[in-house]
Symmetry: C2
Subunit: 396 residues, 2 copies
């Protein structure tokens, strides 16, 4: 075994893929704060503050609101493990990879999974959903707010009524929406909601904020079998994140500092202001792309997630060559299509810090250059100019 004691030099990238996203220097600095013990009284102050900030961002008063000590996928699992008993029916609206994963995990929990598939480029047709679920008794109705694999935005509010009709808890994945697109946990009646630290919240990957309504917490307590996962058992975790402070596992303390600071930055800016910044940048990007002769994968404007923009790769253009060119020439990362979408779309994240004019204009310029390099004819400067116009209109 050869031991390499060198340090690999990490280049500075501009992260405009599906996440992780750019991290503010103040968040990096927060991670330099000394690690302290999991029962240190000063840490308890931080846990309380972090929970308050999470409640503000989720727009909820839920008692059970905390970051799961792992990435978004574990938040998804916690959202299922703690509620499903083997044999329970769980319906999932599926139009992409992450919704499909909810179905897979619910299946691993022993649920009877009702997969309601819809076209990847569209939001779910709610009439169809209603008809499929008519007369059914569900434990959970699950959907993804902003599907990171397709860039589709799903309206959540109408799902509450469908959940009520089936007796279901409403579970929503807000991994790539929270902090960039309005999420109203209490007002929309979401029972179980999870996200990831590394998208619009602007923190490194490693934590999955979750919030659970009182009704869902009740269902969790009434569940006959314990959650299959001890690590993700919310009843045990909650004992640590409450006045009890009962040890469960050593939380990732440095990551908690990071998330606490990134939430502070978000709330200092203002949630509404941040969401409007994301919306505006999305519109500017779409106009710019359109002026360059590119088209969006999601045709219905109302079904486009502001945070995750999917672009059809024009015929004859080499997917990988363009992405490598962007990375090597401009240091910009954009995302490839994932699963079935590989080779047919690009995914451009406007997640947190990159949802602003400088980044959008640079990307449009860089993409134009990459496309021309790859034989696609673009009207030089048209993309940047069209996007500029959107920002200028907003500034007036």
């Amino acid at each position: 075994m050869t031991l390499d004691s060198s340090t690999i030099q990490i280049p500075k990238r501009l992260l405009m893929g599906p996440g992780p996203s750019e991290v503010d220097p103040r968040v990096y600095k927060a991670m330099m704060q000394p690690v302290i013990g999991y029962l240190d009284p000063v840490l308890f102050q931080i846990l309380d503050q972090l929970q308050d900030r999470l409640r503000s961002v989720f727009r909820t008063r839920n008692t059970v609101t905390l970051p799961i000590s792992a990435t978004g996928g574990a938040g998804m699992e916690a959202s299922l493990y703690n509620f499903i008993e083997p044999g329970d029916s769980v319906a999932v609206l599926i139009g992409g990879l992450f919704a499909s994963r909810i179905g897979d995990i619910a299946g691993r929990c022993g649920a009877n999974v009702i997969r309601i598939d819809h076209s990847p480029g569209k939001a779910a047709d709610l009439d169809h959903v209603r008809s499929v679920l008519k007369g059914k008794k569900l434990k959970i109705l699950a959907a993804v707010h902003s599907e990171t694999s397709t860039g589709v935005y799903q309206q959540i509010e109408p799902l509450r009524k469908i959940a009520d009709d089936t007796g279901a808890l409403l579970l929503i994945d807000t991994v790539s929406s929270l902090g960039g697109i309005p999420v109203e946990v209490d007002a929309w009646g979401i029972d179980i909601c999870y996200s990831g630290s590394q998208k619009c919240l602007g923190c490194p990957p490693g934590l999955s904020p979750i919030t659970v309504s009182d009704r869902a917490a009740q269902a969790m307590r009434e569940k006959k079998t314990p959650a299959a996962s001890w690590y993700l058992d919310l009843q045990l975790i909650s004992q640590y994140w409450s006045k009890e402070r009962k040890y469960h596992h050593t939380p990732p303390i440095t990551m908690l500092y990071a998330l606490n600071e990134s939430l502070r930055l978000l709330l200092d800016e203002g949630l509404e202001v941040a969401c409007e910044r994301h919306r505006r940048s999305h519109l500017a990007l779409v106009e710019g792309l359109s002026a360059m002769g590119l088209s969006m994968f999601v045709e219905d404007r109302a079904a486009r997630a502001w945070t995750l923009n999917t672009i059809r790769i024009p015929k004859g253009v080499d997917d990988a060559k363009v992405r490598v060119y962007l990375l090597e020439r401009f240091g910009i990362e954009i995302g490839a299509g994932i699963g079935d979408m590989r080779g047919s779309i690009w995914r451009v994240g406007l997640l947190g810090l990159t949802a602003k004019a400088e980044c959008v204009l640079l990307l449009l310029h860089a993409l134009e250059s990459a496309l021309i390099e790859n034989g696609f004819s673009c009207n030089k400067g048209a993309g940047v100019a069209a996007a500029e116009k959107i920002y200028q209109t907003a500034a007036k």
Copy 2:
């Protein structure tokens, strides 16, 4: 909801509890490196380097060697989920909380759990274990190398024969030993071994290194049902941590930088040198405590973990008052007893950076002061002098 936008000042502590442990400034600095994408070619170099370093620390050539994206408890779960089919028999040697947790989680996986209890202050009696397991067919035989709740060291090598006799995979928890007490995964024939980032490895909490023998990897592949947890499904995770680089979840990239750097520091020092440093500090601490009139919870010297030192709280001394005094007056954190041991022992971690003379001597001085403050009569300076002698002998 009131929003508090203040930043809580985090005091500098000297972490001499059961973990998290002290973090080297170079590790904090590594976390300031910019986050990059999970498919960035530069990240792949780091993943390869990190895996090589983990193999060196585990002393193994196992292909499946990687950090689980969560803390030690998740490593424990991954070690069970990926191997157990409902109905499998799993035997666990139990003398403390963490071994007991292995039994609990194996139960949640649907295993038939054979709990072989032994006294918390002693290592397991292997003759007794042999007689309990005689003629039994097991899927897994599990034990904890250094039991963080009791400070008991369990010799691992003889367990291989018992595992062989029962057809079992040998699963070892090295959370508070790896990097401080020799661990020989290949030489001892351990099949499944996990640890935590925040003990002797000197990294913040958040990752759980794991290694799996080829034989165990084969068992994992032959398992009929998928692991109950998708997040901890090692077959899926391995596809990302291999040449395939298939996306599974966004790893906690900043934490990977931290672990990679902390492993570099450990390997640069030399594993043997680091373990000897832990052993020497343990001996100095024990001599010092003895000179102060205190006694160790683990009576048999050979059964004491060098990294986790448990001290009997003398009669009439208030557990909490002493710990609070140490924290407030000296900024030193030591650990309370956990579970049944609460109020009867203190846990002093010599994990990574604090396993050295300056820290041991300071702790002995501070503890002497705390005890005198609490009405326990100590011969002033005796503890420090006795410990000094051990270090001086070593220096000759």
